[in-house]
């Protein structure tokens, strides 16, 4: 079989419409940024899914390790005083 160097992987983010953030919708392989944008348009916007595309080389994304999940996120678990419902306000004060 004819093997070539692996074509880099890109992550694709689409903004469905103005007013919304770009959202991750998938990934694809492309040799460079121009081809990645064109491929993203063909693969992920065949039905008017958006009006703006970001493509980012997957190798550039720094991700947290799932093994660190507890260390990173558990400390927030017992801080219920960060939520509005932790505080009692009498009903007759009305909406606050």
């Amino acid at each position: 079989m004819n093997t070539t160097a692996q074509t880099p992987l890109w992550e694709v983010f689409i903004r469905p419409r103005n007013g919304l953030a770009h959202r991750h919708c998938g990934s694809l392989h492309a040799a460079d940024a121009t081809l990645a944008l064109q491929a993203a348009r063909d693969v992920y916007t065949r039905r008017e899914e958006g009006n703006s595309i970001w493509v980012i080389p997957s190798s550039q994304i720094v991700a947290s390790d799932p093994q660190d999940k507890e260390a990173l996120f558990d400390p927030a678990g017992d801080k219920i005083y960060r939520h509005p419902t932790f505080y009692d306000i009498p009903d007759d004060v009305g909406h606050m």
């Binding site: 079989m1 070539t4 074509t7 992987l9 492309a30 065949r46 991700a63 390790d65 799932p66 093994q67």
Partner: protein, 333 residues
């Protein structure tokens, strides 16, 4: 996503009974499993095999219909067929990406398809001999695929489930355009209706085989059900498909080619369902093992596409490399 990171990582997990029990507990609690989460090796392998097969099926599935694009009888039908085949290419790409999150490379999957190591749905090893086949494929083959795929939207593996949601949203048009095409033929001249009946005769049984072997003979079913990769058994989905499709055939005025097909009140817990004739599993296994009418052609077509596209991949990479140098030099100068 994450696959490049994963390639450097040691994927071996220590599969102690505690580890396996904890994993099963996550599945039982309907938690989704995401790419870098610890998972049993067999879960990873099962998914790589299943998602890979699914992706290959989409890609090979472009061929039988591409056969008719240039001969579509009207512009309306041609645009629909082009859009459908393009969707199938897209679906293959979503699925390859999902499989890659498990640490397999696109090149490796392509190699396995071309060498015959990886399978794809046996339905695509039948020829498309008449225009009516475009109707029958959309109606029956995509109909059966949708029946299979809708439960996969709730699969325990996140990237696969997300890819399937996209696929299912897009695929509804595939089935509807096929059925509409069948309606046109059935309302046409007697010769056109005969063509539609002939297509139904040829595609009916292979479509029923798309759900896989009977539950008793299915190799992977039990474990896949426990891991919530598979939500219904092959036989359950096949029954559902038959019950939904027979009415549609009646509406067309066509005859389902099964003399044993009969309504059975007692089936499906008293809700009724069809009893149907014996499926020729020897034929199914023959096609799976590579002896269907079109197996050789399909792989030859994919091999040709891969080899003839090599210079494009090489040129694009070489150009990207050159541009990088260029930019670096300009920055220095």
């Amino acid at each position: 996503m994450y696959s490049q990171g994963l390639n450097d990582k040691n994927l071996e997990t220590a599969e102690t009974p505690e580890f396996l029990a904890a994993f099963q507990a996550r599945i039982d609690a309907d938690e989704k499993i995401e790419p870098n989460d610890p998972m049993p090796e067999a879960y990873r392998k099962t998914l790589i095999r299943q998602i890979g097969q699914h992706a290959h099926s989409e890609i090979v599935g472009m061929l039988p219909e591409a056969n008719w694009i240039t001969r579509a009888p009207t512009l309306r039908r041609k645009t629909a067929l082009l859009a459908k085949v393009q969707d199938e290419g897209g679906h293959g790409l979503y699925l390859y990406s999902a499989a890659e999150t498990l640490g397999v490379s696109r090149e490796q999957m392509t190699e396995e398809l071309l060498s015959g190591k990886a399978k794809y749905s046996s339905i695509f090893n039948y020829p498309t001999v008449s225009w009516a086949d475009m109707g029958a494929i959309g109606w029956l083959v995509d109909g059966a695929a949708i029946m299979n795929q809708v439960p996969l939207c709730r699969c325990s593996y996140g990237p696969y489930a997300r890819a399937m949601i996209r696929v299912c949203k897009e695929e509804s048009f595939h089935q509807r355009q096929g059925y509409e095409l069948m309606i046109s033929l059935c309302m046409g001249a007697p010769a056109q209706k005969d063509m539609a009946q002939d297509a139904l005769n040829r595609w009916w049984w292979p479509s029923l085989m798309m759900f896989g072997p009977p539950d008793g003979d299915s190799l992977h079913s039990d474990q896949s059900a426990a891991w919530k990769i598979k939500r219904f058994t092959n036989d359950e989905l096949r029954q559902k498909f038959i019950d939904a499709t027979v009415k549609q055939a009646e509406h067309l005025g066509l005859t389902v080619p099964d003399p044993d097909l009969v309504w059975n009140e007692a089936k499906n817990n008293g809700n009724g369902g069809y009893d149907f004739g014996e499926i020729d599993w020897n034929d199914f296994w023959k096609v799976v093992k590579g002896h269907g009418p079109m197996n050789k052609d399909r792989i030859a077509a994919r091999t040709r596409a891969w080899e003839e596209g090599a210079w494009v991949r090489e040129a694009a990479l070489a150009y990207a490399e050159k541009q990088k140098h260029h930019t670096a030099q300009q920055a220095q100068g």
